[in-house]
């Protein structure tokens, strides 16, 4: 089967070939036997190597890209990349025609090979996925990009392999926006930061002069909505990542907070606090039309749309304590859905639509969990001293959140870090960040 796909930005996909699946990875359960894979370094000719070195100061690019792929696959807990020193066949030969018995000998079940070539300042990338036991190619793909995008090359390859082997979209060619934190708790400095999903390419979007909180992407990942204390007026802002232009969202006579985009990107939904009462509002970005969604003398906050935009889940203490509710997007049909012991907050609707992730506080412990949208089937994924604010990977398989450690009486020993966990409750990992971090939000796939 051959399809042609055009991708915006820098990527032009040339060719996909697929044949029926033989190896399969089941991602619906915790995987205790990760699939052994061999990621052969991408082969490059001498001309390309010379050119990359002298014009781009990049050496061993094929190896670097294969390392990105390896790290991505390993991070899922579903794959177990085999150490390259065990490989018996050279990258260039393997890419043309692998000697499958050599790869089977080192217990590899899947093999990834590839080639890069620099042509007119464009990097042409081609890779293949081989089923070692069946002895056949199951995926081949080629595309071109600019050399400085080489990490994204690795992420795109990873996404295609993940998709081929698990049957679901990947989440590697994505970014995380979060709040970078520094300094003592009493005078914490916070900046908006953006990085690749694997912790590389960190960029700071604000300088730290004012407190910033809870950044969230729009569906096309070009805009971010967040809370800023600019001029000591806590308000929801909109930031264009490319241009750096920021603006206040709406003209509210008081604090606006807890913003998120609607799934079509046309509205921002947020809380507005006045006279001790927080209510949920939306503002349409094009018309600036403001609409009040909730009307109750209690705290209503942390709104999140269902992916079809028809429903909203939110946090309210109208029962006396923080609980999770759902309603239609016009504010009618309000239903409480959390009924377990403890307090519930930060509900966020899964991109697949079937689950709501949340933070739960019970007996001095914080949990990240999921429940169905009717509140049934509550499942707690992880327990800790302090953690909150889950955000879904675009395929709805992984949650990223932040975790804080306990301080001693002098305030020492405190840290805030980003963590992720699979929906299965397995594969809990810390995401490396340059500084402390909190309030992570996952982008959608940058290329589809």
């Amino acid at each position: 089967m051959i399809r042609k796909i055009f991708i915006k930005l820098f990527f032009v996909l040339l060719l996909i070939t697929e044949s029926s699946a033989i190896i399969e990875v089941d991602i619906t359960r915790g995987n205790l036997n990760p699939l052994p894979v061999a990621v052969s370094p991408l082969f490059s000719d001498e001309n390309t190597d010379q050119n990359l070195k002298s014009n781009y100061e990049i050496i061993k690019l094929g190896e670097k890209i294969s390392k990105v792929v390896e790290n991505n696959l390993k991070s899922t807990g579903l794959f177990n990349p085999i150490a390259k020193k065990a490989f018996l066949q050279k990258p260039d030969v393997a890419h043309l025609k692998p000697r499958f018995e050599d790869w089977a000998l080192i217990k590899s079940q899947a093999l990834i090979t590839g080639q890069i070539k620099l042509e007119n300042e464009k990097l042409r990338v081609e890779f293949r996925l081989w089923d070692v036991l069946a002895g056949k190619e199951i995926l081949a793909l080629a595309f071109t990009t600019v050399p400085k995008n080489w990490r994204r090359v690795g992420h795109i390859i990873s996404d295609k392999i993940y998709e081929r082997l698990t049957g679901e979209k990947g989440y590697f060619d994505t970014r995380i926006i979060y709040v970078a934190e520094q300094g003592p708790k009493t005078k914490r400095i916070k900046k908006l930061a953006i990085m690749d999903q694997d912790g590389f390419n960190t960029k700071y979007l604000t300088l730290g002069n004012e407190l910033v909180l809870t950044p969230r992407f729009n569906p096309t990942n070009q805009m971010v909505t967040y809370l800023s204390y600019f001029k000591n007026l806590p308000r929801v802002y909109l930031l264009d990542i490319e241009t750096g232009i920021q603006e206040v969202v709406g003209d509210f006579p008081g604090m606006t907070f807890a913003p998120r985009f609607s799934p079509d990107g046309k509205k921002i939904i947020m809380s507005f606090a006045k006279d001790g009462n927080s209510e949920i509002f939306t503002m349409e970005l094009e018309t600036r039309l403001v609409e009040r969604i909730t009307n109750h003398p209690s705290i209503d906050t942390s709104p999140s749309y269902s992916p079809d935009g028809k429903y909203i889940t939110f946090n309210s203490d109208r029962s006396g304590f923080q609980q999770i509710y759902t309603m239609k997007s016009d504010g009618t049909n309000v239903k409480r859905i959390s009924f377990g012991k403890g307090l519930y907050g930060t509900p966020v609707w899964s991109p697949r639509g079937d689950l709501i992730a949340f933070t739960k506080l019970h007996k001095g412990k914080f949990y990240i969990g999921v429940m169905r949208t009717d509140g049934k089937g509550e499942r707690l994924l992880t327990e800790n001293y302090y953690q909150e604010a889950p955000s879904w990977s675009p395929n709805g398989r992984v949650l990223i959140f932040y975790r804080e450690t306990k301080s001693d009486d002098k305030g020492e020993g405190f840290s805030a870090k980003l963590w992720s966990i699979d929906l299965t409750g397995y594969n809990e990992r810390q995401i490396s960040t340059e500084t402390d971090g909190s309030d992570p939000s996952w982008s959608s796939l940058l290329t589809n």
């Binding site: 009493t186 909180l213 604090m255 907070f257 606090a273 705290i299 942390s302 930060t346």
Partner: protein
Amino acid sequence: MISNKIFKNIILAFAVSFLLSACATQKKMDSQMQGDVYTGTDTVEYLASGVPDRVFFATNESVLTTASRDTLRKQAAWLRKNPDINVVLEGHADERGTREYNLALGERRANSAKDYLMTYGISSNRVSVISYGKERPVDSGSNPLAWSKNRRSVTVKAN
């Protein structure tokens, strides 16, 4: 013999003073909290002589305690005497709650202090409110006493 007796007495005196001081510390801890509301004065500053700048709250609560109402009446009297002064009420929460809910809770706490000032004759346009949620603790410890100090509304001169 005598020296031995003196020695024993010294030991005894030490032991007694140690016990007393231990009691004092214990008592100090207890006297700083009633239920889980902070009642101490370690972090309190004064807007004027005898006018404390802050009130404290129980966990997840924005209800004013008797002591808080007493403090706010003093603030109201001071504001009536100084009609040119405007104030900002800064509402805060402890670190044991989700960030967004705590922003709302801080706002609710500051407003419950504002409402009380208004019932004592202070015009609402002299009093503005800001919530910092859990972002600006005064005590960075992770223990019940530190959290009680951080659940507060602080009255700050705006001009």
